[in-house]
Amino acid sequence: MSTKNQDLENTELDTQARQIAGLLDAHAKRLSLRTLKQLENGRERAVKAHAQQVSGVSVNHDGTLNSISAWAEQHRIVSAGLVLAAIIAGFVIMQSLSHRESSDAFLLSADLPPEAFVDRSFEPSLNNGKAKL
């Protein structure tokens, strides 16, 4: 019995809620002209932005073109590829620079003078000396 009463009360509350919502809806239709005009402006701006999105040109809120970010947004895979390529290129350059640094360090810290490594006849004569021994 109490469950039945509870259900009845819930149904009544539900009906009342819908009546209140109906009143609110009716009241929402009666806005001032100024408000309606501003809503219309907002809607027009949104529709314009939508049309530009669809046509592939993005425009910022202030009306300026946002070509780079718009391009990146629309070509996500390509832009991700470009970023990856830039990272790899940076890595390769860093590696070659560090290799050059280590060879410079080797030349400077070796027992032989640097000219010995430049002289082409030095290595064959060194090898001949080894063979004679």
């Binding site: 809620a17 009143l23 239709k29 408000t35 949104a46 529709v47 939508h50």
Partner: protein, 196 residues
């Protein structure tokens, strides 16, 4: 993908409701207008590729999030206002009255008595709605005004269906008690000629 015309029709259909819902939540007409306009732009810019059938949910979600952002910003601003208010603030802008602000459109040619009763009832309902806790108001608006089902409302609010039912039940109960206190029972509201 929705066409621009479909978007325009959709926005025309929801903009007034969205504005009033935002006014009840933020209690500031200008802020509410900004929020609704911002929501429209975000929908158009970020979801241009979505079909129009997804717009109602997306629009409501953006609207609720934009309202939350507004509250967050407002919290910080209020802190500064409270700190600086002791230095004395004038009542700026109170004299600025524009007749356009008070001219209503679609003023139905109802019985004047019904119109008067309806506007009085609306004042009571609006005040009651503003007094509701934010989550209860959100649940009520989405469930009954936006006519979403419990599952959709729960998804929108990011909570369980049980929570939605609880929020709705409490909200409706509170509203019913307030209306009853003013002698506005279910029968009185239905006599105001609103279809449900």
């Amino acid at each position: 993908m929705a066409s621009s015309q479909e978007l325009s029709d959709f926005l025309r259909d929801v903009e007034r409701r969205a504005f009033k819902q935002t006014v009840y939540a933020v209690r500031d007409d200008h802020a509410a207008l900004d929020i609704v306009q911002d929501t429209m732009l975000k929908l158009a810019e970020k979801y241009a590729d979505k079909p129009v059938s997804e717009y109602p949910m997306l629009f409501q979600r953006i609207l609720q999030n934009t309202m939350r952002d507004y509250w967050r910003r407002q919290k910080v601003r209020n802190l500064w206002t409270t700190l600086l208010s002791s230095f004395g603030a004038g009542q700026d802008g109170e004299d600025d009255h524009d007749p356009l602000d008070t001219i209503d459109v679609e003023d139905e040619s109802d019985n004047p008595m019904v119109q008067l009763e309806r506007s009085q009832t609306m004042v009571i309902i609006e005040k009651a709605l503003e007094k509701l806790p934010a989550r209860q108001r959100e649940a009520f608006v989405l469930r009954y005004w936006e006519d979403m089902d419990v599952a959709e409302t729960a998804e929108m609010m990011g909570c369980s269906q049980g929570s939605v039912k609880t929020h709705c039940s409490r909200a409706v109960h509170t509203l019913a008690v307030i209306l009853e206190k003013h002698g506005l029972g279910s029968r009185a509201i239905s006599q105001l000629g609103v279809e449900t």
